[in-house]
Amino acid sequence: MVERRSILKPDGTIVPGSKPRMDEEFLLEALRLMMLSRAYDERVIGLQRQGRFGVYSPGLGQEASIVGSAMSLDPSRDWIVPQYRELMAVVRQGYPLELITATYMGKTTPDTRIPEGVNVLPTQVALAAQLPQATGLAWGLKLQGKDAVVMAYIGEGGSSEGDFHEALNLAGVQRAPIVFFMQNNQWAISTPRRMQSAVPSFSLRAAGYGFPGVEVDGNDVLAVYDVAVEAVERARAGEGPSLVEAVTYRMGFHNTTDNPSRYLDPAEFEEAKQRDPIQRVIKYLTAIGLWDDERQKTADQEVAAEIERVVEAAQAQRGVRPEMLFDNVYERPPARVERQRAEFLKSVNGH
């Protein structure tokens, strides 16, 4: 049996004897991001139902895992390589939420791309393809003597892809400064965790590449943060990669096109809700006197206001224009492509 690291229990109490690294101020910031994540998901699912938002995979239930891991990084030098369900991690890293929102609203323009200086790679839809890329990024930063660490995200589903193996093995050989952070949310669309692998804990895979693997309660932001900081410090110290398995639960649909009622056992779902990552932080902070109804109300209002600001700012972004269609394919496009571009512009302008 693999130990599952844990600090903050579902009932909001601390595992006796544990000393979280995260101080209270930092925890309040984590809670704010987790609340923002939850409220944002709910808001944009609404927008999506109105046809105003693209296909979206919410982070519902995984907020501790997403926020706790991202907070272990120094955005000014470290990098995040996301899959697609780590929105708040990317926001914390510096990619403004209004630009991400605008992108989901169809404003896929250069204005809303990842800004210069923000150390984030684009969302990866082709599962696990980001991992060899992340290894290469970490290896290259190390070759250049930079003090940077890469945090690469992967789902337990994506971890079945060959790219997972190749990326971890290469990272091990090159002792690349990278943390492979797996969110095991028990589902890959409709495929349950037990059909994904016979491995009892995905963290065991790390041993197959010669570096440490850790399993952590992914709904426990304090433990996630601790484990992530250890892995980041290890990487920064030149000791190479780690694999973290954050055991969590997808408390929503896979994405806005999904219908979990076809495959999900409602009892399991209800049970999972008892382990909510946000509630336990609120209980804990309440117990130590740092949270109450008043604070909750203020926080809810602030989050709601922030989301409104974001949605409005996103709406104010300019939309796509035909001239953008051919942009950013090549720095020096082939003549044939230039000609197609000219024909295209003539044809759309002709209308």
Binding site: V125, G162, S197, R262, V320, M324, Q340
Partner: protein
């Protein structure tokens, strides 16, 4: 006769074939309880059990490689790749392995494997989901490539594919999945490979297409007809085998042709169609054969896909231009 859309036709073909042949099994991502992301396999796991309808780990190369091995063991696997673009993750198991295995084993080990995969633009899918990469597989001898454009063909060609002793890549046009129903009989019938269908007769120009572009060409032919231009529409139905005879006959008759596809222009299968016409119909051509395709750029974000995909306007304009030459 029962009316079915493409999703229903495929589901019906799978049900009937699994009833008929106990060796047939399905494997892929989410083909079980979910019934596939487009619901083509709805109800199958309930009917045939989880030994014959298998949700696999998320790993395309192993879905494809295991299908090869399953076939060698005596099963008849129908593998689903969730979107055609993700065949890239298992590319090495298709052309170099599945397609070549009969040859590699000098005839000892044929591979009766069907790979099903939806693809195509126009439904605002995320990245990679729309990529029309069918032409990339034509350079994989040993593989057949099937591109139905309607429910009747989809059922008849899927039955043909599953029973074909060689591997077949069966590409499903997701934009057309539920675009209306047509008569699709219950029970066994097959649409043979290598027989293009002349969907519409017309003397002025031939429009050549496959899969969803065939539906587009039929709409274009309607528009052209309003203009007094009578277009013949040829739906190739399979790229390998290519029905050179029907293609050449149709184009020779009209002397003019436009080939339409969703894949990028350069080295799309349209090039092969044109090259074949050059070789076989040169002296019958009154004007150069034109191509209307997506541009030589990556499939864009959903908000821009309507600019990228071949449009009714572009097909009609190319046909008018070709007729006027």
């Amino acid at each position: 006769m029962p009316q079915r859309n493409i999703v229903e036709a495929i589901n019906n073909a799978l049900v009937e074939e699994m009833e008929r042949d106990p060796r047939v099994m399905l494997l892929g991502l989410d083909v079980g309880k979910l019934g596939g992301v487009f619901r083509t396999t709805t109800g199958l796991i309930e009917r045939f059990g989880d030994r014959r309808v298998v949700d696999t780990p998320l790993a395309e190369a192993s879905i494809l490689g295991a299908s090869l091995g399953l076939a060698l063991s005596g099963m008849v696997p129908v593998a689903e790749i969730q979107f055609l673009g993700f065949t890239a993750q298992g590319f090495h198991q298709i052309g170099p392995q599945l397609a070549k295995y009969r040859h590699r084993s000098r005839g000892r080990f044929p591979c009766q494997v069907t790979i099903r995969a939806p693809f195509g633009g126009g439904i605002r899918s995320p990245e990679f989901h729309s990529d029309a990469v069918e032409a990339q597989f034509v350079q994989s001898p040993g593989l057949k490539i099937v591109m139905p454009s309607n429910a009747y063909d989809a059922k008849g060609m899927l039955l043909e594919a599953i029973r074909d002793p060689d591997p077949v890549l069966f590409c499903e046009p997701d934009r057309l999945y539920r675009l209306g129903r047509m008569e699709v009989p219950d029970g066994d019938y097959r649409v043979p490979f290598g027989k293009a269908s002349v969907v519409r007769e017309g003397d002025d120009i031939t429009l050549v297409a496959w899969s969803a572009a065939s539906e587009l060409c039929q709409r274009a032919a309607d528009t052209l007809a309003a203009d007094g231009i009578e277009a013949c529409v040829v739906d190739l139905r399979t790229l390998v085998p290519l029905d050179v005879e029907t293609l050449v006959k149709a184009v020779a008759k009209t002397g003019r042709a436009v080939v339409v596809h969703e894949a990028p222009l350069s080295a799309g299968f349209g090039a092969e169609v044109v090259a074949t016409l050059m070789e076989e119909a040169f002296y019958d051509l009154d004007a150069p054969v034109a191509r209307v395709a997506s541009y030589d750029i990556p499939f864009p974000a959903a908000s821009m896909e309507h600019w990228y995909l071949p449009s009714l306007e572009r097909v009609v304009a190319a046909a008018r231009r070709t007729v006027s030459l």
